[in-house]
Amino acid sequence: MEGELVRVLCRSGRSGLRPISFTRREQEYRVAAINARWTGREGVHPLHFYALSLEGGGEGVLCFASRSACWYLTALYGDEV
């Protein structure tokens, strides 16, 4: 799985996991909206992607890798957007 390992606070519900915030390099990013979600594969193991808008204006993509049960930040778009 390519991406930066991050710590994610998420809510678990009927529609699956829902990220609320994540911490990267000791900075917390709060999720303003989940714009899209989709599933990929790493071998037989599902990868759950979330395209997010962040409070403060940035955007990013988080991925939950079910094989390792870890969250990865696969993209972060900030000031340049």
């Binding site: 899209a36 989709w38 071998g43």
Partner: protein, 389 residues
């Protein structure tokens, strides 16, 4: 109308999916391209970028000259496949007969649906509302008219194109607007003095058959807005006739060693797809595009069918060696045609050691299945970077 066919064409699909994921990109010129760092071509340009004359298939470098402020986004096939699957799910609610013509377009047969035009309109709304992705819909008496209809009002359009309206709308247009007529066929038609759909429609069927064989009959029908082909569901689609893969190199490459590495990875990929479908092939075709964009294809048909990566590579490498001539290449492609289910092949009287079976390859497939593609790579290919391969 006896048949009622709808064509759904997702508008600037890849770009629209990217805009959905990153709302801040909406309205900005956006280019979805293979490898923004390399010199790939534009896969999809958003409508904001198209206003600058950017088109799919254009080299990214050229696109950036026309639209310097464009945002480049790498292709993310997983994301688009997921969005396409969602669209397919929605379409299935409106007709039992859905044919996904590609990742971003589909035909639906509404012939047995009551009030088909209303159903087509509701389908368009459902796709847009439930996915957040815009699409254009064309409705016609056949797949050709439906497809041409969806092009009439893009983006976010809905058009009905009847056979009666076809001559007035299309006879004055160049023959290339007809699906299946590309640059090569258009050039052959131009040599006959045929440039527009109307001029093609004026040609007799026998004249076109004489010039183009069976294709002539198809051209004759297309120019009259006729198309009898059915909408085929996934189960009804014919089996693949060929399996292929190609790769645009990051820079023009002249070094035979590096080219052989790319070729080896291409052969591995094609062989893997054949192996997973339990296919063997008769003919291997190698596609070479030189730095001046001149493209040649060269094929070889060995005495026996083949399927192993090393068999593909031996054929492809000999074709590369015979045709490269020391020139720099920008694209390499390998395809195998004449494919059929494996089995029934004649056994070699004196088999070459190490080429007996594909147990090794099937083991590698299982590793890929378990841990993802690229977990195991050939050591000889580690030095080259082939994103997307």
């Amino acid at each position: 109308m006896e048949r009622v066919i709808a064509h759904v064409d997702m508008d600037a699909f890849f770009a629209a999916v990217e805009e959905l994921c990153r709302p801040s990109l909406r309205g900005r010129p956006l280019l979805v391209c293979g490898d923004p760092d390399g010199r790939s071509v534009v896969s999809t340009a958003s409508y904001a970028a198209r206003r600058y004359g950017v088109r799919s298939g254009m080299p990214v470098r050229e696109a950036l000259k026309r639209c310097p402020g464009a945002v480049l986004v790498p292709v993310d096939g997983t994301k688009y496949a997921a969005a396409s699957a969602r669209v397919y799910q929605i379409l299935q609610r409106f007709s039992p007969r859905v044919e996904m013509a590609s990742i971003d377009e589909a035909f639906l047969d509404f012939s047995s649906v009551p009030q088909p035009l209303a159903a087509a309109g509701a389908m368009k709304l459902a796709v847009c509302r439930e996915t957040g992705l815009p699409c254009s819909v064309g409705v016609g008496e056949n797949k050709l008219l439906a497809k041409l209809g969806s092009e009439l009002r893009k983006p976010d359009g809905f058009s009905v194109l009847t056979a009666a309206r076809f001559p007035a709308l299309f006879h004055g247009r160049p023959v290339e607007v007809l699906p299946g007529i590309g640059a090569a066929t258009a050039a052959k038609l131009a040599a006959l003095g045929v440039h527009t759909v109307g001029e093609l429609a004026a040609c007799s069927r026998s004249h076109l058959e004489q010039r183009f064989g069976l294709i002539g009959r198809i051209l004759h029908a297309l120019a009259r807005g006729r198309d009898d082909s059915p909408v085929r569901t996934r189960e009804e689609l014919p089996a693949e006739k060929s399996v292929g893969h190609e790769h645009t190199l990051n820079r023009d490459e002249v070094d035979p060693g590096r080219l052989r590495c790319v070729l080896l990875e291409l052969c591995d990929r094609v062989a893997e797809r054949m192996r997973r479908r339990n296919l063997e092939g008769r003919t291997l075709t190698c596609k070479l595009r030189f730095s001046d964009f001149r493209t040649i294809t060269r094929a070889r048909t060995p005495p026996s069918p083949f399927h192993l990566p090393q068999e593909l590579f031996a054929l492809a490498a000999s074709l590369l060696q015979a045709n490269q001539g020391g020139r720099a290449l920008r694209l390499l492609g390998v395809s195998v045609s004449g494919v059929r289910p494996r089995g029934g092949a004649q056994l070699e009287l004196f088999p070459v050691p190490g080429q007996g079976g594909d147990a090794l390859w099937r083991s590698l497939d299982r590793i890929s299945d378990q841990f993802g593609r690229g977990t195991v790579r050939r050591a000889s290919c580690l030095a080259i970077r082939t994103p997307g391969l």
